[in-house]
């Protein structure tokens, strides 16, 4: 974390040195403490890649720029610090955009550096020229087009500060080739940029929240990803117990409270347990912490928590009242705010209310066949993974049914151990994010030498969207196991067509499928296919116990659905709870 000493401390009056923009950019990244970057070189960023040659910064060569973006996301989501991805101009930059948009919606700190054609060529439709500034503008927290190498001295630390401060997010820096090549005189080095402390919210707001928490009868804490981002998980748990307030979590907040906590009712919204959504009908005080009232969480907004006074704690002032008017808004860092609340709030027990929550939790368990009858039912599979994987295992997912089964049934016990594309819902996220997570864990010395510590749960649809990163994984030999929940379909699309489009299956079923185990071997990885008829869970445990990266293909039933489900646009209480098909 401390920047490497370049022999030019902040404010030092060392001799002026003349270096290129590319060398300056690399040195500024080194001073930020960046040790690993992911990217792909190309014409307009070659000077910077030349500057990386021989540098202590490790470059991870992805096989597609989107992979580089998600590798950086994996690093950032595990560490909470901004990670760096690189791409050249034109298609390199456009390929990064999905990963940037994904980081924006999930508030992940990233710094994306793109090469651009030389300034004399900008606007001429030059080879590999695209308006990267314009394209990244709506999908980043902020973006820069560098016009002179000296600007890097201000822009690079600022980019890291913006990425990590307040509500984190991606920042893009577009660097024309001539800026990388031009020489610039540097006589002092700027301070590295990092998270700036948030302004404290007023005491009156803290007091008002304490009063509400003490005086209302049926409070619930509604946790979002901001709780994990601000490191407030333990504080949120302490607050729940102090106030006897049940807790619901968004997909992004899973891991803030362990599923075993008696006050935790798991995920709310579209694929919540029915009891969780029903509890929210009765709430008289909803305290949203780092959550943004996303439609997948709220269902029909006007019917969401209809009896509740709403308090909203968020780092982003624009989130307060954006979707649902808040009676009280507290802008700031969730950890700081919760700490102040805990300093003042007297304990209060609410036996009837917590008993009501517990009763609703046990009244509506997930429907699934017993393990003995169907060991590879996805719910059984996720529960089994929860039993055999150590609790600090980082699990990444792709997007679709498997993602929701993980959210419903895999016990996420610690913050930052579930990495998933929540807001953008990007298929193809899981594998490169797992690579990035493993890079960060190995660098921190936290990955076990004996076996996989990062597990990517994917589907046969999602995995193909960034399958080329298996080559990156093979090259790096990282402890990543990819589990393919293989149903031969775009399962969540098929499910919606079954439930809401009169079983007209339009383009949701694959008529040809690759042999994923053979595909893994072709990339130089271990590949295994689980035989459903022959001790499948034992075979899965064995495959996971072997060291090194691997792909494990797990056939699952083609008619299994994610239930319960709130139909899109409906109120959360209108859940389809029972299996709709003959298959349980």
């Amino acid at each position: 974390m401390p920047p490497p000493d370049q022999g030019n401390g902040v404010g030092s009056t060392a001799t002026t040195m003349k270096i290129t923009g590319a060398d300056l950019l690399r040195t500024l990244l080194e001073r930020q403490g960046i040790t690993t970057v992911a990217g792909i070189p190309g014409g307009a960023i070659l000077p910077f890649y030349d500057a990386l040659h021989g540098s202590a910064v490790r470059h991870v060569l992805s096989r597609h720029e989107q992979g580089a973006g998600f590798i950086a996301q994996g690093m950032a989501r595990v560490t909470g610090r901004a990670a760096v991805c690189l791409a050249t101009s034109g298609p390199g930059a456009t390929n990064l955009i999905t990963a940037l948009a994904d980081a924006r919606l999930d508030s992940v700190p990233l710094v994306a550096i793109t090469g651009q054609v030389s300034q004399s060529l900008i606007g001429t439709d030059a080879f590999q020229e695209v308006d990267t500034y314009g394209l990244t503008l709506p999908v980043t927290k902020h973006n820069f087009l560098v016009r002179h190498p000296a600007e890097l001295l201000e822009i690079v630390p600022l980019a890291f500060r913006l990425a990590e401060s307040g509500r984190p997010g991606p920042v893009a820096i577009d660097v024309p080739k001539d800026v990388q090549c031009a020489a610039v005189e540097v006589d002092r080095w700027p301070e590295p940029g990092g998270a700036a402390p948030a302004a404290p919210c007023p005491d009156e707001s803290i007091d008002a929240l304490c009063q509400l928490l003490f005086e209302t009868e049926r409070p619930v804490l509604y946790l979002g990803g901001g709780v994990i981002a601000s490191g407030a998980s333990e504080l949120a748990r302490a607050l729940a117990h102090r106030a006897s307030a049940p807790v619901v979590s968004t997909l992004m907040a899973l891991g803030a409270l362990p599923p075993e906590d008696p006050l935790h009712l798991g995920m709310l919204g579209m694929h919540a347990a029915k009891g969780t959504n029903l509890l929210l009908e009765e709430v008289d005080l909803l305290v949203a912490i780092g959550a943004r009232f996303d439609d997948r969480a709220t269902g029909l907004v006007r019917e969401f928590c209809p009896r509740a006074t709403i308090v909203h704690i968020d780092a982003d002032p624009a989130e307060i009242g954006k979707i649902k008017p808040a009676f009280l808004g507290l802008v700031g860092d969730a950890a700081g705010i919760l700490r102040r609340v805990l300093d003042r709030l007297p304990a209060r027990s609410r036996p009837a209310w917590t008993a009501r929550a517990a009763a609703l939790r046990s009244a509506y368990p997930l429907h699934h066949p017993p393990r003995a009858a169907e060991p590879l039912h996805p719910v059984n599979l996720c529960r089994f993974l929860g039993e055999i994987l150590p609790p600090d295992t980082v699990v990444t997912t792709d997007v679709g049914q498997h993602q929701m089964w993980v959210a419903q049934a895999y016990p996420v016990r610690r913050p930052r151990t579930l990495l998933t594309s929540g807001g953008l819902g990007t298929m193809g996220f899981g594998l490169p994010a797992a690579i990035g997570a493993a890079l960060a864990l190995v660098e921190a010395g936290a990955a076990a030498p004996g076996g996989p510590r990062v597990v990517c749960v994917s589907g046969d649809g999602s995995l193909l969207m960034n399958i080329q990163e298996l080559a990156t994984l093979a090259e790096l030999g990282l402890p990543v196991a990819v589990l393919v929940f293989n149903n031969g379909q775009l399962g969540l699309v098929r499910q919606q067509q079954q439930l809401f489009y009169r079983e007209r299956y339009s383009a949701s079923r694959f008529s040809a499928a690759p042999d994923f185990a053979a595909l893994a071997r072709a990339f130089g990885l271990r590949g295994a296919r689980i035989d459903p008829e022959h001790r499948p869970l034992a075979a899965l445990a064995e495959a996971l116990a072997s060291p090194g990266p691997c792909v494990i293909d797990i056939p699952i039933h083609g008619r299994a659905n994610v239930l319960p489900m709130v139909p899109p646009g409906a109120a959360n209480r209108q859940m389809i709870a029972e299996p709709a098909s003959a298959h349980a």
Partner: protein, 112 residues
């Protein structure tokens, strides 16, 4: 920074939808207007008119925005305040009619 952050209170009813003029002080560089106007398209805010001119030494500019029939003016204000290049957001209730008339007059007069 704190001067651009709207208050944390969001109690009470939202202001009525109607015409409102916002005045922004922004960093004067080529991307700023894209950030501002992009926000309006992206979040489907109702923007009726916009004017921009550099002020002082030219490092910052003043932008006037006319909102028309915008049901969420407070949300517009907060989203604008979030932009790094926007240094200050304030209401100009005094300005609405004059600003419109002048702008329309100038543009009308420029027609061939």
């Amino acid at each position: 920074m704190s001067d651009k952050l709207p208050g944390s209170d969001s109690g009470g009813p939202p202001p009525p939808a109607g015409r409102a003029v916002l005045q922004l002080r922004v960093r004067n560089h080529p991307g700023t207007m894209s950030h501002i106007t992009g926000l309006f398209a992206r979040r489907a805010f109702n923007l009726e008119a916009i004017a921009c001119a550099p002020v002082g030494d030219g490092t910052s500019s003043t932008v006037l925005l006319l909102l028309d029939g915008e049901p969420r003016p407070d949300q517009v204000e907060r989203q604008l305040a979030k932009l790094y290049d926007v240094l200050e957001v304030r209401h100009r209730p005094d300005l609405a009619p004059r600003f419109l008339e002048r702008l329309a007059g100038i543009l009308g007069g420029a027609e061939p």
